[in-house]
């Protein structure tokens, strides 16, 4: 396909060489997750990263706001940066390999070998990440604003809103002030940023660590998620038997959340939820 060869060479010369030299393993996913917090990544500047880390920490909070690790601890911002700078890496970390992660058997981590993209797949992702940039070969269906611009512009908006409203950098504001700024739906730049960052935060918190997030498998630990199970799989008993446990929640606030979520699912529940009636009897895991 008609790729922007000049820009690609430039990116490879600058971005890839610098980054790859820092990362053992040459762009493999496991290396992404070992990028140092605080260091400039493939795309965003240090100051943009500082804001982004604060943003994702509000989207998926960790200590002290929540007892379990959140997006900051999982390395979500670093993973987002790796996606934004994917084409400055030798193997863009977009589609992890397969079939096995090596965490449930299998000799090695196949996920870490990102699947090479052919020219067409790469064009699609360059448009998505970099935008159409006025290039005819990218604007067959009209102009596209890329993720790089969504993040760069949104983080800048957040920074200027923080300065205007609170006279400080976003990252040093209190959590509730940060939430207020993130919830400003009237600001298109902020709204687009929050939409993209939330989608990515979920992917990188709860997806395989090879993409750069979910460091130390923190996203799977607190959710007791054990589905990275190939090639072992599940036994017949594990499939057909009860998983035990109980939905009983320690906090009344959490109960209220479940009830309100179920309420939002259906305005007319077939039976009034009496979710907690068996709490005393059922054993907790």
């Amino acid at each position: 396909m008609e790729l922007d060869v000049h820009r690609r060479s430039f990116a490879q010369a600058m971005g890839t060489l610098c980054l790859i030299s820092l990362l053992p393993g040459g762009g493999r996913g496991e290396s992404l997750s070992s990028a140092q917090p605080g260091g400039a990544g493939p795309f965003l500047t240090q100051s943009e990263m500082e804001t982004l880390r604060a943003v994702v920490a509000r989207l998926i909070p960790g200590p002290p706001d929540d007892p379990d690790p959140g997006a900051r601890e999982a390395g979500v911002a670093e993973a987002i940066d790796a996606l934004l700078g994917a084409f400055s890496l030798r193997a863009p970390p977009i589609h992890a390999g397969g079939p096995f992660s090596g965490r449930a058997g299998g000799a090695r981590d196949d996920f870490a070998d990102f699947v090479p993209m052919d020219a067409l797949a790469e064009l699609g992702w360059r448009i998505r990440i970099e935008g159409s940039k006025g290039l005819a070969e990218r604007e067959f269906a009209g102009p596209v604003v890329g993720l790089q611009a969504v993040y760069r512009d949104g983080l800048a908006r957040l920074g200027s809103n923080a300065a205007k409203r609170f006279g400080a950098r976003f990252s040093v504001l209190t959590g509730s002030d940060q939430d207020r700024l993130l919830s400003e739906g009237a600001d298109d730049g902020v709204r687009s940023l929050v939409g993209a960052a939330l989608a990515h935060a979920l992917e990188f918190m709860y997806g395989p660590p090879e993409y750069g997030g979910n460091r130390g498998l923190v996203g799977w630990a607190y959710t007791r998620w054990a589905a990275d199970d190939q090639p072992r799989g599940f036994t017949d008993d594990e499939v057909s038997g009860s998983g035990g446990g109980s939905l009983c929640l320690a906090e009344p606030k959490a109960r209220a959340l479940v009830e309100s979520f179920l309420g939002a699912l259906s305005p007319r529940p077939a039976r009034t939820p009496s979710l907690w009636s068996d709490c005393g009897k059922a054993g907790k895991t």
Binding site: M1, R58, L59, I60, P61, D66, A96, G98, P99, S101, F111, V115, D118, L120, A121, L123, G124, I127, A141, G142, V144, V194, L198, L202, E203, F204, M205, Y206, G207, P208, Y211, G219, Y222, T223, W225, A227, D229, P231, F234, D236, E238, S240, S242, G243, G244, G245, S246, L247, C248, A254, L257, V258, L262, L265, S266, A270, R271, P273, S274, A282
Partner: protein, 566 residues
């Protein structure tokens, strides 16, 4: 003189089966596939591997799926079309996997047969106001032997002795299944018990999943990544592993990343001479052939026919009737959700292991009467399923502003992952002339061709059936042992997972029929207006039935190929 050469557009369910049958019969076969080949070892003696894994992120990143950044689709409702609105949406709409093997690389692999009544809807149940009901020009009996042959090749599991007599009366079977059912999923067993309590008849869902080693592919280990995910261990049958692989070994030629954009025809328009296609560099090629088979899926096959307009076919290839692109059908999804105190791990297993077909209909009762319709029909159900982790996270985040502490607290409960069992129904769609595919007047794809534009609105038939049946789905969930709450989600719910657009079942657009003025292909799948062009995908369906369509696509394709070889 050698056998007729064949070019097939599309390597999915329809195309792969035709390639297998025709290559096996000694025809030179070339398959043009728009997508990449993501199956290592396909068509080699060394055997097949997998690049898929238990990875929710990759599945959401257009790895095997059509990338809407490269090939968007546009949509509008019938009302918008009537007002002259060109489109109201541009992006990702009902795209099937664009890769070697098509949608079956990540299909749910559920393989119910259509019923006898599905082929004779007009005769048996009469017309439906505002719909374009028609009989198929063939019967269940015409397809039965091909159903069996496809099932045997895929390796379909099931248990005839546990199927309801009513099901077997509508879809008679002369042979047992190739293998026994998978271990029953716990969540499904609970809902199945609830269903039995209420007098329904759940049974093990026939599916192309290995419960034992089959053809060198291993037994399913219930890993939980099934519908929507490529199989990491190739325990699931499908177009690529079951048909394309042996077809390639028999000498068929596969050209991946070949975008077919035009069926070339003779000057008099009576014969196709081959298919024009573009490679990823934009270079044009032509594959000449004696026979052309189109199997690009309903939306893309209709688009290709419309793109192939020529002097003798001014409105699109074989479209003198004006029927090409019309009668586009999906399936209307309705859901029941049961909530359980215990961990029912409804994600663990091959999506679901039970089905029930008690809602297929037709129902001429009060719900039909109050909708002012002669009858209603629902469809087959998947009994017991739940979300994976990222799917769960995304579902919670779909509520506006639901991030931060509340979201994390919901994730900690694992509600949608561990404590619900879902019951989803595939509701039959009525064919309507106004539901159609045409060429978008302005938006182009990466190859520079007009994208398909989908005009679609649900018929009152689907809406009334969904509204009537959803509470019954909820009642089943409520009757399940241990259920502490239950919901029914049907029309008019706007939630994801409900409605026509949430299905990958796409049918119609090149209807099969006897009347060339009201259909596009004949009973053998050959286009009425061309001597040597056949259609072998869901386009040819005259009705959508209340059943997953892939097995029927494969059986029709096999029948077409066998009759063609004669």
């Amino acid at each position: 003189m050698g056998k007729a050469s064949v070019v097939i557009v599309g390597s999915g369910a329809g195309g792969a089966v035709a390639a297998w049958a025709l290559a096996g019969a000694g025809h030179p076969v070339t398959i043009l596939e728009k997508g990449r080949n993501l199956i290592p070892g396909l068509g080699t003696r060394g055997g097949i591997g997998s690049l898929f894994g238990n990875d929710e992120v990759k599945a959401g990143r257009y790895f095997e799926n059509q990338d809407p950044q490269l090939e968007p689709r546009t949509t509008r409702s019938q009302t918008e079309a009537a007002k002259g609105k060109a489109r109201s949406f541009t992006g990702d709409f009902n795209s099937l996997a664009v890769t070697v093997g098509g949608g079956t690389v990540h299909w749910d692999a559920k393989t119910p047969r259509f019923w006898r009544q599905d082929f004779k809807g007009l005769t048996l149940h009469g017309p439906m106001p505002g719909a374009n009901v028609a009989d198929w020009p063939l019967t269940y009996e015409d397809l039965a032997t091909y159903y069996y042959e496809v099932e045997a090749r895929l390796g379909v599991q099931g248990d005839v002795s546990r199927m309801p007599a009513a099901t077997l009366a509508q879809a008679p079977r002369r042979h047992p299944f190739a293998m026994a059912p998978n271990p029953p999923m716990h969540a499904g067993s609970l809902l199945a018990e609830g269903a039995r309590t209420l007098g329904y008849r759940p049974y093990p869902f026939p599916m192309a999943v290995n419960s034992r080693t089959f053809e060198g592919r291993p037994r399913c280990n219930s890993c939980g990544f099934c519908s929507g995910y490529g199989c990491p261990i190739n325990a699931r049958g499908g177009a690529a592993v079951s048909f394309l692989h042996p077809a390639l070994l028999a000498g068929a030629r596969l050209i991946p990343r070949a975008f077919a954009h035009r069926v070339e025809t003779s000057a008099d328009g009576r014969r196709a001479t081959g298919v024009a296609w573009r490679d990823t560099e934009g270079v044009s090629h032509k594959e000449s052939a004696d026979i052309v088979i189109l199997a690009a899926s309903s939306i893309e096959t209709a688009r290709l026919l419309l793109l192939s307009a020529a002097g003798a076919h001014p409105d699109g290839l074989g479209n003198r009737s004006g029927q090409v692109g019309r009668n586009l059908m999906f399936h209307y999804f309705s859901l029941g959700v049961g909530v359980f105190d215990e961990d029912v791990h409804g994600w663990r297993g091959p999506s679901s292991t039970f089905t029930l077909d008690d809602f297929v209909g037709p129902d001429i009762g009060d719900a039909a009467k109050s909708a002012g319709l002669p009858y209603l029909k629902g469809g087959i159900c998947e009994v017991g399923g739940a979300f994976l982790l990222l799917e769960e996270a995304q579902a919670y985040a779909a509520l506006p502003g639901n991030w931060g502490k509340p979201h994390k607290e919901l994730m900690r409960t694992g509600l949608l992952r561990s404590h619900v069992a879902g019951l989803s129904m595939v509701g039959e769609d009525m064919p309507q002339l106004a539901n159609r595919v045409d060429l978008d007047p302005a938006i182009k794809d990466v190859y520079g061709f007009p994208v398909p534009r989908i005009t679609h609105s649900s018929h009152r038939f689907e809406q009334a059936a969904s509204a009537a049946i959803a509470p019954k789905l909820a009642a089943i969930c409520r009757a399940a042992p241990g259920a502490i709450a239950a919901f029914g989600l049907g029309y008019p719910s706007e939630l994801a997972g409900v409605g026509p657009a949430s299905t990958a079942h796409i049918m119609g657009t090149a209807r099969m029929g006897e009347d060339p003025g009201a259909s596009v292909v004949d009973a053998r799948g050959r286009m009425h207006e061309l001597e040597n062009v056949y259609i072998a995908d869901g386009s040819v369906f005259a009705s959508s039935g209340g059943f997953n369509p892939t097995l029927t696509i494969m059986a029709l394709s096999l029948r077409m190929a066998r009759l063609l070889g004669r």
